[in-house]
Every structure is written in C-alpha cells, then in structure tokens.
C-alpha cells in the first residue's frame, strides 16, 4: 500500500501548493507505514524541489512539454497510477486542478473524499481529518470509512520543512487518453503572485472613494511585493478587475498577512479572508466590524495612514 500525491504542473514547474501536498503526503505515509509516491503529468523542470520535501519515488506520465489540464483525462491516468501502486490515499492540492479532478478520482477508486482538509489526519482510531466549514465560521472533523480515501489540501495549512530525499524518477507506464476538450487560449497574469497563492495581500474597499485613488494601495503593495485584492462592491463597480474580488462570492485566500484598507468587514467579505494568519485593518470608523476580526488595527484616514505605512515599511526593511 502507498500514499500517492499528484504534483501539479504549472508551466513546467511544481509550485508551493504541490510542495505542501508532498510534505503532507510524506507525513501521512510515515504514520501509516506506507511508501510515498508522487505523480506528475508533462515535463517538469524542478523535480528536485519535490524531493526536498520527501518525494522519493516520482512517476512521470508523458514528458511532452505542454499537457493541457482535462479533468476527465487526468482522472483516468491518476486513478490508473493509484491502482498500479495500490494507493490507500491520493492527495491533491485544493487548487483549480485538484478540486476538479479529486471527485472524479474518488469515484473511480470508490474512495471516501474530503476536500479542503487543513490538518494531518489522525489514524489512531479510524481515519479522521479536519477542515473548515461555513466559509471559515466553523471547523469539523471528518471520519472516512473503508481503506481508500482522496484528500485535497488547502494552501498554507501545513508549514513545510525540508526533509530531503534522493529522487528516483521513473517514466510511468500509464498513457494519457485523448482529451475531449480543446484549449483555445491561455492568458496568465505575469509577474504577480496570484491571489490564492499570495502570502502578502493588500486589499482595499469602498473607503477608497474611486478607482483614481488606488495609487497609494499600489505603492504599498509594490513596496511589499504583495498582491492586491478588493471588496466586492469595488469589483462590481469596475474600479478594480474582477479577479481581485475576495470573499464568499469571490476568491478565498489564506495569506500570512492581509491588510484591509477602507473595508467595513461585512461577514461575506470575512468569509474569504478569515483564514489569513495575521490581519491588519485600516479604517477611519473605530466601530467598523472588521476590527473584531483583526490582529492589528489603525483608526484613521487611509489617505493619511497608508503612505505612512509604506514609508515605514521601506525604512524598517531597509535596515
């Protein structure tokens, strides 16, 4: 029996979400007394990074440089690999790819599926694992019966440490079937860390008064190397692009630091950001609900506070 981790291919690279999944899979495999295997599809240039977090056995399906993601095609290949390795557990990152393929793999393997898990499973009494529910308003323990399971791991839930293994890389005997979908166009934003992966996020809301005022936000974000986000009304009014909208109906994020500027802290907004490690709130209204969810707060006019924060950041970090 083994634990199989699917490491995603992002333009030829495995990113942090996959390293976390490998690290998590390694912990689980040792607890279960099973071997860890890692599966990749398409050419990947940083396989040695996977090994740093415990990937000893790496299986590569197809070495062609471009393989477009198709959940139907990938599910068949991943579950065939899982069968070949007699996998007890298959682990994905809770990413766009992981979410769309995990259910399919669970069906094929007749496994119990728990998505968005945020802790290492407990295996002393059956198999149970934690996740957060109701957009972060509650936590739950899920119990999985039977001897097969599929998990998707949310980002930033485990703190990865290097364990360092020597990778044994092999070509998988499994071939990809033909895909029934055709990719026409891919557009990715270059140079910025996408919100779901960002560790530092600077976000602003209606308190900005208008899109012409975003300069102060961008200066702070640029200085910090942070990704920008916004509240829903701001995206709805087209002050900012839709992909920046965080919250219950937008993107859910889990950065290390979330700075909320001129955002009141409505519960639907908090739903997408309350898993942030540290929350800083800047608002001129000391009664703003966001302060209740914050770790640090500054009561003041954002047009005064934000430039001061940028200057302070530049000064302190320069030393």
């Amino acid at each position: 029996m083994s634990v199989l981790v699917f490491a995603e291919n992002f333009k030829g690279l495995c990113k942090k979400a996959s390293l976390e999944a490998v690290f998590y899979g390694n912990k689980l495999a040792s607890a279960l007394g099973q071997d860890l295997h890692v599966l990749t599809i398409g050419e990947i240039t940083n396989l040695e990074d996977l090994a740093l977090y415990g990937a000893t056995n790496i299986h590569q399906i197809s070495k062609s440089s471009v393989v477009d993601f198709d959940s139907q095609q990938f599910a068949k290949a991943i579950s065939a690999q899982a069968d070949a390795l007699e996998a007890s557990t298959v682990i994905f990152a809770h990413s766009a790819q992981g979410k769309s393929v995990a259910g399919r793999v669970a069906v094929r393997m007749q496994a119990g599926l728990v998505s968005a898990v945020n802790s290492i499973p407990e295996i002393s009494d059956g198999f149970s694992v934690g996740k957060s529910l109701f957009s972060g308003k509650a936590l739950a323990k899920y119990q999985i019966e039977g001897n097969k399971r599929v998990l998707t791991l949310v980002g930033n839930a485990v703190l990865i440490e290097e364990v360092s293994a020597t990778p044994n890389i092999q070509d998988s005997s499994i071939a990809l079937e033909e895909s029934k979908i055709k990719v026409v166009k891919t557009s990715t934003v270059e140079g910025i860390v996408p919100l779901p992966e960002a560790e530092l996020v600077v976000s602003a809301g209606r308190g900005m008064k208008g899109p012409e005022n975003w300069g102060v936000i961008e200066e702070l974000a640029d200085a910090m190397g942070a990704t920008t986000a916004c509240s829903r009304p701001v995206a709805d009014a087209d002050w900012r692009p839709h992909h920046e909208h965080v919250g219950q109906t937008g993107v859910a994020i889990r950065p290390n630091l979330y700075i909320a500027i001129g955002i009141s802290g409505a519960i639907q907004h908090l739903a997408g950001v309350n898993n942030s490690k540290v929350i800083v709130v800047i608002n001129k209204d000391e009664e703003a609900p966001f302060f209740k969810a914050a770790d640090y707060g500054i009561v003041g006019d954002l047009f005064d506070v934000v430039p001061k924060l940028t200057a302070a950041y530049n000064k302190v970090m320069a030393n």
């Binding site: 993601f69 959940s71 139907q72 766009a96 979410k99 769309s100 393929v101 995990a102 259910g103 669970a106 069906v107 119990g112 599926l113 998505s115 968005a116 149970s128 529910l133 109701f134 509650a138 936590l139 739950a140 899920y142 119990q143 019966e145 979908i181 055709k182 026409v184 557009s187 990715t188 860390v193 996408p194 779901p196 992966e197 530092l200 910090m224 909208h245 219950q248 109906t249 630091l257 519960i267 739903a271 490690k277 540290v278 800083v280 709130v281 209740k292 969810a293 770790d295 640090y296 707060g297 500054i298 005064d304 506070v305 001061k308 200057a311 302070a312 950041y313 000064k315 302190v316 970090m317």
Partner: protein, 246 residues
C-alpha cells in the same frame, strides 16, 4: 437543448452558525436558508440566458426535503421551466451526486450546471463526482460560456489566469463569478413560478463513506491591538519580528 441546473440550499450568508452542545450536529433553529449564491447568480441565470437565446429547456434539480420548495420556486421564478426534487436529506457529496446521476440517466441532458461550490460545506465535490459517474467532460470554475455554432467556448479560472476551452455537449460545468449577473424576478414571474411543474422523486440508497464526527467553532481572535497612525514603524516591526510574516 436540455439544460440541468443543480441547486443547493445554504444558510443565509450572515447567519450565525452554532452546533448542538455535544458538537455532533448543526443547529438550524432560526437559521434562514437561501439558494447557494453560485448556483443562483451564475449557473442558473446563465442556463436561462442560453435557453432564451438558443431555445431549450432549463430544469432545476435539488436534493433536499420539502422545506426547500421555497428555494425551488425561486429558481422557477428566475426562469427555469421545471423542477425536480429528490426527497431526502443531502447527507454527503456522494449521496447528492448519486441522486443527480440517477436523474440524468433517466432524463438525458446536454449541459449539467453546478455552482463553483456550496458556501456551507465548501466542498466543490459534487460536480466532479457527477461528471465521472456520467463520464462527461467537466469544466470547473467557469466564468464564461458561449455557444459558437455547434460547439461551446468556455472560460475557466486557472491559478493566476484564465483559459478558454472548446467542447461539445454533453458536458458538465461549475459556474463562478463572471458567468452571469444576478436576476431579481418580478411579480409576474413569481406568480407564474407557482404553476410550473415540480416533480418529487424517491432517493436512491448510497453506501456512505464519509461522515462528520465533530463540529467546533473556530478559536476567537484574542482582540485587536490598536496602533497609532503615527507609529507605523512599530507596526512593521511587530509584523516582522513578532508575527514573522514579513
């Protein structure tokens, strides 16, 4: 064109979440329920628009008890032509997926729509499971769906960008923001929805593999530390040296 929209029910977004004292069940007393926003605003409205412009029939399918009929009526008032409800408590994603698959096998569809995820159990599980059981292509987190002659073009969210894919029915998709705009039904549509057919079906038994053994409320924040606007250097130092997030 036959379009099926799977709709789920979730606590209203501002509802206070609580559990039984022993933490084994969700306390629904006094909780208002709504149609899951992704199902309503994005999946359903887009399905209705496609039927309006290309002809076709939109069915909404819900797995739940009769207390959900109010949500089903709302979906009909937004423009679905008919509805079906599988009369059972939706105990798990696998249970729900099996009921949906059973319905589609008896009532073949060109496109099966899901919401991106339910905002209560935050799973994004059902659409993927149904697609596999029906062996359909599945485009998840779609922000645009257009008919182009015989094929469809669909934009999907990928990490850090958007990808356009082309595919032909039958297929399944899950709808995210951008797909459509929320519709507020008018009085006439609300009246008409009462006369639209709602079929009630018996559930299929399912072998459950997953259950929730314990609910908890998250630990509350210890309280905000207020920092003077003129002391931003202190804030940066705290973030750097104490919190270690910079």
């Amino acid at each position: 064109m036959k379009l099926l929209v799977c709709i789920s029910k979730t606590p209203e977004t501002t509802a206070k979440i609580s559990f039984s004292d022993d933490g084994t069940s969700f306390n629904s007393d006094g909780v208002q329920f709504i149609m899951n926003p992704y199902d309503e605003w994005y999946a359903l409205v887009r399905a209705v628009e496609l039927a309006e412009s290309n002809g076709g029939e939109v069915t909404v399918l819900h797995v739940g008890e009769s207390s959900s009929d109010i949500i089903i009526r709302k979906a009909l008032s937004i423009g679905a032509h008919k509805a079906a409800r599988v009369d059972a408590v939706p105990t798990s994603s696998m249970f729900v997926a099996t009921q949906i698959v059973n319905y589609v096998k008896n009532n073949p569809q060109d496109i099966v729509f899901f919401g991106k995820e339910t905002i209560d159990y935050n799973g994004a599980e059902v659409g993927s499971m149904v697609s596999e059981m029906l062996d359909l292509p599945y485009i998840s987190f779609a922000s645009k769906l257009e008919k182009q002659g015989d094929v469809f073009h669909c934009d999907r969210d990928i990490e850090g960008g958007i990808q356009t894919v082309e595919l032909s029915p039958p297929f399944a998709i899950s709808a995210a923001k951008g797909m459509a705009e929320q519709r507020i039904p008018n009085m006439k549509a609300i009246m008409m929805s009462k006369r639209k057919p709602l079929e009630v079906l018996e559930p299929f038994q399912v072998d459950e593999k997953v259950s929730i053994s314990q609910y908890n409320l998250p630990p509350s924040k210890s309280g905000v530390k207020l920092i003077d606007a003129d002391n931003m250097e202190e804030l940066v130092r705290l973030l750097k040296d104490v919190e270690k997030v910079l």
